[in-house]
């Protein structure tokens, strides 16, 4: 891919890195990334991927911007209160970098639409706010062989893992089943420190760029746990579970299922 003069300047700090170069920047510009959620995590993920020059950014989110989001969801602002988060994020990201094609999708992900929605994308990033969506996204990525960069936050704790189908664990190898409603609180119930998604979303964006560039070691087979109060990162090993219901040797989940849990009760 050829770069115009403005792009050469815009991406000069990338191009100068031997691990990226013009070739790597071209890969970034051709990459198509599907983001689940444009909230606390989706904001920094989309912001940094846009800055990096990711070619296409699909964003599925059917929520609208509320003032309680603005303590952490930096893609939105007072100017976009009440707007769909996908539209609000598109305006923010395209203001930063008009090279990026942002496609807002104002739907709720379900077993009936997810395969069509992710079909044209290379990598999926999960920044959703509920368990049913996380399991659905994992299963869809395993079944279609798409890499998934998963991040989650609550209170002062964050988790990041990268799932590369066929090369290690999946989310169900890590946590086999979603918790029953009520046992794990949501951010709405338990709170979340505003800068925490910046750390975790930034790590997710890095994982995506590494996957696109084919450089470094993604968090495959590992779970990174961040403790914001202590400012410590810990990594634990996540082996592939041979009995995993979706990616194991004899899978029992061979088609998608929706969990009927009410999101608000989680």
């Amino acid at each position: 891919m050829d770069f115009n003069e403005e792009q050469l300047l815009r991406y000069s700090r990338h191009i100068i890195l031997p691990e990226v170069g013009g070739k790597g920047q071209s890969r970034i510009q051709k990459a198509r990334v599907f983001m689940v959620g444009a909230g606390g995590l989706g904001s920094p993920v989309g912001y940094y991927l846009s800055a990096a020059g990711i070619g296409t950014l699909g964003i599925v989110d059917n929520d609208r911007v509320e003032i309680s989001n603005l303590q952490r969801q930096i893609a939105h602002s007072m100017n976009t209160l009440g707007k769909y988060k996908g539209d609000s994020a598109k305006a923010t990201f395209e203001a930063l970098n008009p090279d990026v094609r942002v496609i807002p999708i104002k739907e709720r992900l379900s077993k009936d639409n997810i395969l069509d929605l992710i079909h044209d994308y290379d990598i999926v990033v999960d920044g959703s706010d509920n368990f049913p969506t996380r399991y659905l996204v994992n299963d869809a990525c395993v079944l279609t062989g798409k890499p998934l960069v998963s991040g989650a936050i609550l209170r002062f704790e964050g988790q990041v893992t990268t799932i590369v189908p066929g090369k290690g664990h999946c989310y169900r190898c890590l946590f086999e089943e979603p918790p029953p409603p009520g046992l794990v609180p949501s951010c709405q119930e338990a709170g979340v420190l505003g800068a925490l998604p910046g750390v975790i979303g930034g790590l997710q964006a890095l994982e995506v760029l590494k996957l696109v560039l084919g450089k470094g070691e993604p968090l495959a087979g590992k779970l990174l746990i961040f403790d914001a109060l202590k400012t410590t990162f810990r990594t634990v090993r996540v082996p592939r579970n041979p009995n995993c219901p979706v990616c194991g040797s004899n899978p029992t989940i061979t088609e998608l299922q929706d969990y009927s849990q009410d999101v608000c009760s989680l």
Partner: protein, 90 residues
């Protein structure tokens, strides 16, 4: 020296805000039950009928006990045990 147990933030309400507590060597499930005496409610949140719940992982020094001896995995002096529940905020 004792066994160090790292408590995740969602469970720190049960441990009076403590993020690290200490226990005595033995097995993981004995450790959980011992902790429940000091911090009532802890065992119920992470286990059910003596089994660790499926959305909670326990690591002994970075290794997931499901791939060791599960609830009967041994813990000795100096080991670090981490309780890591699934979280879903975004």
């Amino acid at each position: 020296m004792a066994v160090t147990i790292r408590i995740p933030t969602p469970l720190q309400r049960v441990t009076q805000g403590k993020e690290v507590v200490e226990g005595t060597p033995g097995t993981v499930i004995n450790l959980v039950n011992e902790l429940d005496k000091a911090y009532p409610g802890l065992a119920e949140r992470i286990s059910e009928n003596g089994k660790i719940r499926r959305f909670v992982n326990i690591y002994v020094n970075e290794e997931d006990i499901r791939f060791l001896d599960a609830e009967n995995t041994g813990v000795k002096d100096g080991d670090e045990v981490s309780i890591v529940p699934a979280i879903a905020g975004g």
